[in-house]
């Protein structure tokens, strides 16, 4: 009687197909995240140091980072020979951070307890042994355990000195520099408007002289402080396995050292603590060595600030446009055309927006601002060059369709009965829009903003031409007008690109690429979660549109 439909008609394969597609996507995303997590977080873990003694009598000390089969095309069937990749550090001594060592050349593997891993300001890590510590010509200590204890003691004293130097350098000299710069600008401005003499000029000149005096004093202080850093450390290195192999010595001023560790003596606890401190300094310090070392703080700062500035522009703009489209414009062909155009705008490649940003914001608006407000700057551009304001505006332009679409959808979902309820009480359309519709559509606006932020935080191409740079001399904020908005800035996305593909030392920078990528993901996640949290709070407050009506 009742015919059982065959398998195709029942759609079982279709269920499998859809489920499979979903599983596949999830797998890909999870795989990507896992890889980035593994590589990114692994970067901060201090590995043990291994000393490889080779058959040819030479040796190499370093971290073993990889092991792979040597491609052998001549005898395909044979069991593969292996080789290991060693991070030997000591770039200044041996030329390369990494060497490949064939396993069949290794005579012996040792795990020297007193081997040091030294993080230093220049030239990457140093792996080796402590030979002696000197203060000028005076030998303070030799190698070995008590030498290391002495070194750590001197190092922590030097940290304090460094902190004081940094304070003078960054805060005091920085402030004076700003003041000098300001006074010079004032003079320039006065000269431009025809005042080259008189009380105003004299006042500025006096100010300038005074600042100059303070500056000179500070520089003297600084030199005095620097003179105190007299200790130097001599280290021996073992490496150059491929170049005959020889022991080499290196003497470093103590001010060059960031951290001295004995990885092979560190327990799990010590390593974990070190890991945490590395993680912290990664997010909180400035980069060194053309970004391949040190932290990424300026990039985090730039990214977050850019996204925030973008949000400030994109939200009101998109919301107003959506309100006009949905609430005021007469629905018809014209509005449909606009709507389609807006939707398509979201699909325009981002670099197109970048080009527009350069052409419109920088060369038109920026040039106009410079002409109008900073004519005395002469050929030094203020806004007539890439900067965080223009980059943010470019991204705002790029993401405004996202906000418009989300807001419009929210507006469409607000029941007519709610508006009528307000109108029937004698409210005008504007009052209704303002006090009833706007609060109710807030969650949708935030949804749009979340999507916009997610897109903006990950965008790189348009930024590269509108204000992002590899190394920015200062953070894009300042206390005085124009508040640093005109400054170029660093950005995590660009940082990744730069590290991974533009760096002089790609191998050494690769772990940083993953770490920075991870950070970017975390950042986007944090921004999104923040916005989602706000949205959900609003939703609870106005569990409106969906609930009762």
């Amino acid at each position: 009687m009742s015919r059982k439909p065959n398998i195709l008609r029942r759609g079982t394969p279709f269920i499998w197909l859809t489920g499979g597609a979903l599983a596949m996507s999830l797998l890909l995303v999870a795989g990507m995240l896992l890889l980035i997590l593994w590589k990114g977080l692994g970067f901060f873990w201090q590995k043990d140091l291994t000393l490889l003694r080779l058959n040819n009598g030479s040796a190499v000390l370093g971290e073993i980072v990889e092991r792979e089969a040597i491609p052998d095309l001549d005898s395909p069937g044979a069991p593969p020979k292996m080789r290991v990749k060693v991070k030997q550090g000591n770039r200044d001594l041996y030329g390369a951070d990494f060497v490949w060592v064939r396993e069949d050349e290794i005579a012996e593997r040792e795990r020297p307890e007193d081997a040091l891993a030294v993080e230093r300001l220049g030239w990457g890590d140093f792996f080796g042994y402590l030979k002696e510590i000197r203060d000028g010509d005076k030998v303070l200590a030799g190698g070995g355990a008590e030498g290391l204890a002495k070194l750590q003691e001197l190092l922590s004293a030097d940290y304090e000195l460094r902190a004081r130097i940094a304070k003078v350098e960054k805060n005091q000299i920085g402030a004076i520099n700003d003041a000098i710069h300001g006074a010079e600008l004032e003079l320039k401005k006065l000269a431009y408007y025809g005042t080259t003499m008189g009380p105003e000029v004299d006042a500025q000149k006096a100010l300038l002289a005074e600042h100059q005096k303070t500056y000179d004093e500070l520089v003297l202080d600084l030199t005095a402080l620097r003179r105190k850093q007299t200790v130097s450390v001599t280290l021996t290195a073992e490496g150059g396995a491929m170049s005959g192999g020889q022991q080499k010595e290196k003497t470093l001023p103590i001010s060059e050292l960031v951290e001295v560790l004995q990885p092979n003596r560190m327990g799990l606890g010590a390593k974990a603590a070190h890991y945490a401190s590395q993680l912290w300094s990664f997010v909180s310090t400035d980069p060194r060595e053309s970004n391949t070392e040190g932290g990424v703080f300026p990039a985090i700062f730039g990214t977050v600030l850019m996204v925030l500035i973008m949000s400030i522009f994109v939200t009101p703009f998109g919301v107003l446009a959506a309100f006009y489209l949905r609430e005021y414009a007469k629905q018809g062909r014209w509005v449909s055309v606009v709507r389609i155009a807006v939707n398509n705008l979201a699909g325009v490649p981002s670099i197109v927006f970048g080009v527009f940003g350069v052409g419109f914001f920088i060369h038109f608006v920026g040039a106009g601002i410079d002409n109008a407000f900073f004519p005395y700057m002469g050929n030094t551009p203020v806004f007539h060059s890439g900067g965080i304001l223009w980059a943010s505006l470019t991204l705002a332009l790029m993401t405004v369709p996202v906000v418009i679409v989300a807001t419009e959808e929210g507006l469409a979902a607000i029941p007519k009965s709610m508006r009528e309820g307000s109108l029937a009480l004698g409210a005008t359309k504007f009052e209704t829009t303002w006090s009833i519709v706007l609060p109710a559509v807030m969650p949708s606006i935030l949804t749009g903003l979340i999507l916009a932020m997610a897109r903006a935080a990950g965008e790189v191409a348009p930024l590269m031409i509108t204000g992002v740079v590899k190394i920015a001399p200062a953070l894009p904020v300042s206390a005085s007008f124009p508040f640093g908005l005109e400054r170029q800035f660093m950005h995590l996305g660009f940082h990744i690109f730069d590290l991974g593909f533009q760096s002089p030392n790609v191998d050494a920078a690769r772990p940083m690429v993953y770490a920075t990528t991870l950070l970017l993901i975390v950042l986007v996640l944090v921004l999104n979660i923040g916005a989602i949290w706000i949205r959900n709070r609003l939703r609870q407050k106005y569990s409106a549109a969906t609930a009762a009506i």
Binding site: E420, L423, I436
Partner: protein, 306 residues
């Protein structure tokens, strides 16, 4: 509902004997002091029976109203007057134009682009389309309660305070007074007095509808329009709202659309029966239900309609 029954009994409708009816639409039938006589002289087809209402007691007048949605006519030559401080029910099959007529009184139809109206409607003696009278001003005088409760996604307090605020009432104390009075009028006070700052959406459907009534009376309108206010409610809530209407008519003129014949009989003083955009019969409720004049009315109220 017993209360409804007693209320109907309580209310005596004065049928005025005066023949001078300057405000009433000029219909021969309307002149008749005795309805019975007037009806006798009419052909059943044109049987729009108009209740005689004392001109001094007229709150809303509808004169020769025709209304179109685009090319489709929804109301045909409607002539009516509604009495002050009475409940008037509009009944009729679905799609006959009850809501449309009701929405004329506060110009809600203005929001419908394709809607066009001809004729005159006066509320409290004033033409609602008087250019000097703003729609928002009219709507402050003519409140409306909708079919489905539509509280704003705000607190209970803010829902009720919304209208007064719009009208420019400022100051927490003044608003407190208005809010309490309005919620009491809507017989909701005891249930919500401890949770005025909770979301209105957390109330039950019946409570929400009474909140909407409180919201509407907070601006002290003259006329209260109710479009099937109980259709989404359970019998208990319905009963409360019916009682409420009988209380409220002491202050307001109430026009209610309902599909529930018993409800119309319980709460209204007058009832108008509409069919396909035309007014078929409009009389004292008891009369209309006990002795319908028009065959079509009789069919409808006895359930033989369609």
């Amino acid at each position: 509902m017993n209360t409804g029954e007693t209320a109907i009994n309580r209310i005596r409708i004065e049928v005025p004997q005066s023949s001078a009816r300057p405000v009433a639409p000029a219909r021969p039938a309307a002149h008749a002091p005795g309805i019975e006589e007037a009806a006798k002289g009419q052909a059943p087809e044109a049987a729009v029976t108009i209740e005689a209402i004392d001109p001094a007691q007229v709150e809303v007048e509808v004169e020769k109203v025709n209304l179109w949605y685009g090319a489709k006519q929804a109301l045909f030559d409607i002539n009516l007057t509604f009495a002050k401080n009475k409940v008037t029910a509009l009944i009729g099959p679905s799609g006959c134009g009850k809501s449309t007529l009701l929405r004329c009184f506060n110009r809600m139809n203005d929001l419908v682009d394709i809607c066009r109206m001809e004729g005159t409607i006066r509320v409290g003696g004033r033409d609602i389309r008087d250019p000097a009278l703003d729609a928002t001003e009219l709507r402050k005088n003519v409140g409306m309660v909708f079919q489905k409760p539509n509280p704003f996604p705000k607190t209970i307090y803010e829902n009720v305070a919304y209208g007064p605020r719009i009208q420019g009432v400022r100051g927490r104390e003044k608003l407190d007074v208005i809010v309490e009075r309005s919620i009491r009028q809507a017989a909701l006070w005891d249930e919500v007095k401890d949770r005025l700052n909770d979301s209105a959406l957390g109330l039950s459907g019946g409570q929400q509808q009474r909140l909407c009534i409180a919201r509407a009376v907070a601006v002290e309108p003259e006329v209260l329009l109710m479009d099937e206010p109980c259709s989404a409610l359970d019998p208990i809530s319905t009963g409360r709202i019916e009682d409420l209407m009988i209380d409220l008519k002491e202050k307001y003129t109430i026009l209610i659309v309902t599909h529930n014949m018993q409800q119309a009989a319980r709460v209204s003083d007058y009832t108008a029966y509409m069919l396909m955009g035309e007014m078929i019969e409009y009389r004292e409720t008891k009369e209309l239900f006990s002795r319908p004049r028009d065959k079509r009315t009789e069919d409808y109220i006895t359930g033989r309609f369609g």
